[in-house]
């Protein structure tokens, strides 16, 4: 029982490359900035509890998250090496920065869009605080380096999300969504933590690196089953976050019932958080060649195939746009899972992984944009179904153009980076010789083209209903949507900016 019992020695900590004056904490600057933003919001709220100064609150949130975006971007592009903090509990490397960039930018967009959406509802400060705290949790997930931090930061992300989904507490849909999200979430986290406990039982450690070391040293054969069950249960916990089947059941309702900006936030950022956790846990803690008898690649292949298929097929016949987007977001989780499912020996593994990362990045913008458009529609109160969108383009051409960019990019047409990232994943699937995944991707994206273009058709082709009228062009929402559209569009020619860091970050885990 003396396997890998050593807790990380101070020596291991001390010889880190970037131990500067700030004690290396500047490495997690984004997290800290977000935390401070949350505190600032608390302060504002405590000073003027009854004020409904939406602009101030969202302004602070936007500014805070934008600062975080800039810092992250700078760190990402200057390529800070891998920094371990708190005796290895946290690690800041290309991977975590890449995803932190996604989280923070999505947060900024959502906060910007919420300006009109929240309008003058009660508990605004709480709303923004919860958003920012969830974002903080995500950044922590991105850099979590031990199962303990992973679980805690996961909870830090989930608990605010539950509350946010149920934010419209007089709206049955929102509450029901919150409930379902919470119930499935708590169940999943129970599964997750139980899995952790089993892995701990088998390896006697929670640090990814040590777990990996123990595994590569080889564990007592009688514990393989325990380890395996633990790994699969952890996979379950991750699958909940990424809304992958069979842990996806909360997603359609949560995305449909929640306030649209929150749906955007969850379906883009929270999903990405799940993926970064998956990447890190399974690649650092359970390396494919080290872990014997637990073929989690196969598990992810099954998951990917089922998820993308079920998600897209269910999306194909929806009546409401928001629910269609919810299912499509499940489908995209399936696409992104290819990044893990295609990690077979034949594949160029860093590339496959980076393809998944790039897809999540682009998805962060196009999907957020799409949901924000739904938020706009809800703001105008023109209804939820496809028919309600008929002829919208004649009233709001810019927003509809942006929406078309999002949808086509989601469908994998060259109106944005979604085109490239999806085809990178397809390349990965083919290269890994997981032809089933390739075929699934083909069939599903063909189908997805059908239901995405239903929205486009409604907006541009169909005749508007007689009483279609919209009041006002909310600045924040428009700003957010147009920004997302521009970024999505630019990610087609300018993807190189991110594809190279993604590749380096991806190869960092092998």
């Amino acid at each position: 029982m003396s396997v890998a019992t050593t807790i990380t020695t101070p020596a291991a900590v001390s010889n880190q490359p970037l131990q500067l004056g700030l004690g290396g904490y500047e490495a997690i600057a984004p997290t800290i900035i977000l935390g401070l933003t949350a505190l600032a919001l608390f302060t504002i709220d405590s000073i003027a509890p009854e004020s409904r100064n939406n602009t101030l609150l969202s302004g602070v949130t936007v500014v805070g998250s934008l600062i975080a975006v800039v810092v992250t971007g700078w760190q990402l592009l200057t390529g800070a090496g891998s920094v371990e903090l708190f005796s290895g509990q946290l690690v800041v490397d290309g991977m975590s920065l890449f995803f932190t960039f996604i989280f923070t930018s999505v947060t900024a967009l959502v906060a910007l869009a919420s300006h009109e959406y929240v309008g003058d509802r009660a508990y605004q400060a709480e709303y923004y605080v919860l958003v920012v705290l969830a974002a903080t949790g995500m950044t922590l997930i991105a850099s979590a380096n031990s199962l303990a931090t992973a679980f805690v930061s996961l909870e830090l992300t989930s608990l605010p999300s539950y509350a946010l989904v149920a934010y419209l507490k007089d709206n049955r849909g929102s509450v029901e969504a919150g409930l379902k999200y919470f119930l499935i979430g708590s169940l999943s986290s129970a599964v997750f933590v139980y899995g952790i406990s089993l892995v701990y039982a088998a390896t006697g450690s929670l640090l990814f690196t040590e777990v990996a070391a123990t595994l590569s040293a080889g564990i007592d054969g009688s514990l393989t089953g325990v380890l395996g069950i633990g790994v699969v249960m952890i996979l379950g916990g991750v699958a909940f976050k990424t809304a992958s089947i069979p842990f996806h059941f909360w997603a359609p309702e949560a995305y449909e019932g929640a306030p649209a900006p929150i749906s955007a936030f969850l379906s883009s950022a929270s999903k990405a958080a799940g993926f970064v956790l998956a990447f890190r846990v399974f690649l650092t803690a359970f390396p494919i060649d080290a872990i014997a008898g637990v073929d989690w690649v196969l598990a992810f292949q099954i998951l990917a195939l089922v998820t993308m298929t079920l998600g897209n097929f269910a999306a194909a016949t929806q009546e409401t746009v928001k629910r269609m987007l919810a299912y499509s977001s499940i489908g995209h989780a399936g696409y992104a899972l290819i990044a893990l499912g295609a990690l077979t020996g034949a594949a160029n593994q860093p590339f496959v992984l980076s393809a998944g990362m790039i897809h999540l990045l682009v998805y962060g913008f196009m999907n957020t944009g799409a949901f924000l458009f739904v938020a706009l529609a809800e703001h105008w109160g023109i209804g939820r179904t496809f028919e309600d969108y008929n002829g919208l383009a004649s009233k709001a051409p810019v927003a509809c153009a942006a929406m078309s960019i999002f949808l086509f990019s989601l469908a994998g047409l060259p109106t944005g980076g979604g085109f490239l990232s999806k085809y990178f994943l397809l390349i990965g699937a083919v290269e890994a010789q997981t032809y089933v995944l390739a075929a699934g991707l083909i069939i599903n994206s063909a189908l997805s083209l059908y239901f995405y273009s239903r929205v486009v058709k409604a907006m541009w082709i169909e005749e508007p209903a007689g009483d279609l009228s919209i009041e006002g062009y909310p600045t924040g929402l428009y700003a957010a949507i147009v920004t997302a559209a521009v970024v999505t569009l630019l990610l087609l020619p300018a993807l190189a900016i991110f594809s190279d860091p993604a590749l380096t970050a991806g190869s960092g885990l092998f």
């Binding site: 160029n348 047409l413 390349i427 082709i461």
Partner: protein, 532 residues
């Protein structure tokens, strides 16, 4: 920089038209679309490319190559350039777009700015398809074409436009995905011997013996074959080859005239162009090994497509199905892999672009005045619309391959090319395919007799007047071009010949095995014989 100029003019102009109010768009877009014509004709005049863009010893005209991004081990470049095959196609694109815009003045009366803007965007993506030499750049343009087309059919189309648009959209998109997989199967077969996805690089790597290794369980040859047929399946949809042609008639019938012109005139050529560039330049040995299967596809397209055209009552459907038939000749020529086969096929792309464009324009003019396209609904139009009738007669005879018109040269070259091809029973297959020229004559003569001649009558009560000038001008321009190409094909063919001759040197001497493929081919030829 010329190509970038072309693209830029179309993109910027398209956006400008899109944003400006409707009342300017028609004339403005026409004016803008003249610039690409000028540019492309200047390029044509100063064209200095040598050889085939993908093959050894070629010099590209107007080449640009800039690093774009890296996909795993592969460097992607923004790489464009022209050779003798792509140059004429680009000129064709610019000309047809302008004529299409001109022909839109009459029928398009709502959301003009969007319509003309999309037309210009479409022109940009089409030019891109023909100019791009790096796979991903090419593929971006290839897919980008779908978007304006979807709107152009879906918004301004006929009664069943939504169905037609989505059918076209999804069908061709699936095809692209399949083709994509095929291409990358081939790339992975090449292993580390390629570091970029530039088509010339891949062609070069493939030219080395035994370049393709085994992928997964597949033997090298199996990899090539699979790649070939996956790509063929993908491109066949665009061409279209029977049996994956059914999106075409719907799209054509529903699309407004200007869009049909682009669809038939240029869009279908994307498929054959891609076949020439990918299947037949990258994998010639597979193309020859399975020549008989491919010829079977070609013949079925020719004969079956012509028969379908014979059965139609809607003028647009007639032209649409005869496009299927004519594109079959292109396949025939490509498979032949002789100079005149390949060159004729390319020439047929240009020629068919002009001729089908002309006929769609004619049908459009007729429809604008009579508001019907049904053969049974009209007769004796020649009395009221003499010029249009003349144009229809000219177009129909051009389609029948009348000498001194471009169609004849193209088809004659294809036939002589495939007659001398070195797969089994080449003359028999050629003869069977040639029977298309009789059927084609059949349905165009019947259609003309019923619509143009006889006692004048139209079932729809509209004032039948002479067509407007801006409707007639495109017809005249096209007729002039068709006759010019027909009486002096060297204008284009010199360039084409220079570009396709290197391909003929790719031909391995191996005779196509008359195994199962041969039997299948013979079966088809017998089928043709029965029809004959």
């Amino acid at each position: 920089m010329m190509i970038e100029l072309l693209l830029g003019v179309c993109l910027v102009g398209g956006l400008a038209v899109f944003l400006l109010p409707d009342r300017y768009s028609a004339r403005l877009s026409f004016g803008i679309s003249l610039l690409p014509i000028l540019a492309s004709s200047y390029m044509y005049a100063t064209f200095d490319g040598v050889g085939n863009a993908l093959l050894e010893g070629s010099t590209l005209a107007f080449e640009t190559r800039v690093n774009w991004l890296s996909v795993g081990p592969y460097e992607l470049f923004y790489h464009v350039g022209l050779d003798g095959v792509s140059m004429p196609l680009i000129v064709l694109t610019t000309i047809l777009t302008t004529l299409a815009i001109l022909s839109a003045w009459t029928p398009i009366d709502e959301r003009k700015s969007q319509f003309y803007g999309l037309m210009l965007l479409m022109e940009a993506s089409l030019i891109g398809v023909f100019a791009a030499l790096d796979f991903f750049v090419w593929f971006v343009f290839w897919e980008a074409v779908l978007i304006p087309m979807y709107f152009l059919i879906g918004v301004w189309g006929g009664p069943r436009r939504k169905y037609a648009a989505i059918k076209f959209f999804v069908y061709t998109n699936v095809a692209s995905l399949v083709m994509f997989v095929g291409f990358f199967l081939l790339v992975f077969g090449l292993g580390d011997s390629v570091q970029s996805l530039g088509l010339p690089a891949i062609a070069g790597a493939l030219s080395a013996p035994g370049a393709v290794g085994s992928v997964g369980g597949l033997s090298p040859n199996a990899v090539k074959t699979a790649a070939f047929f996956l790509m063929f399946a993908g491109f066949a949809v665009k061409v279209p080859v029977v049996p994956v042609h059914t999106w075409l008639p719907d799209a054509h019938v529903e699309a407004p005239t200007p869009v049909s012109v682009i669809l038939a005139g240029v869009l279908l050529k994307m498929g054959t162009y891609a076949l020439l560039r990918f299947n037949f330049t990258l994998l010639p040995e597979i193309a020859q090994q399975y020549a008989l299967v491919l010829v079977a596809f070609a013949i079925v397209s020719v004969i079956y497509g012509a028969l379908l055209a014979l059965a139609q009552q809607d003028l647009k459907r007639i032209v649409a199905y005869s496009s299927v038939s004519s594109m079959g000749y292109v396949i025939l020529g490509l498979v032949a892999f002789t100079l005149y086969g390949l060159g004729g096929a390319t020439f047929q792309m240009i020629s068919h672009g002009l001729i089908s464009g002309l006929l769609f324009l004619c049908v459009g003019v007729v429809y604008n005045t009579t508001h019907t396209r049904m053969v049974g609904d009209m007769s004796g139009l020649a009395e009221r619309m003499p010029i249009t009738a003349g144009a229809i007669v000219a177009g129909s005879f051009a389609y029948m391959g009348l000498p001194l018109m471009s169609g004849f040269v193209a088809e004659f070259l294809v036939f002589s090319g495939s007659f001398a091809a070195d797969f089994a029973y080449a003359p028999v297959f050629t003869a069977v395919a040639m029977f298309g020229i009789v059927i084609v004559a059949g349905y165009y003569l019947f259609a003309m007799q019923r619509t143009l001649f006889g006692e004048f009558s139209v079932s729809t009560d509209y004032e039948i007047t002479r067509a407007a000038v801006h409707d007639v001008v495109p017809l005249v321009v096209l007729i002039v071009l068709i006759i010019a190409l027909g009486s002096a094909p060297e204008i284009v063919f010199g360039m084409i010949e220079d570009a396709v001759r290197p391909m003929t040197e790719l031909t391995t001497t191996q005779q196509a095995d008359a195994g199962p493929a041969g039997m299948l081919g013979l079966g088809v030829s017998l089928l043709g014989g029965v029809l004959l």
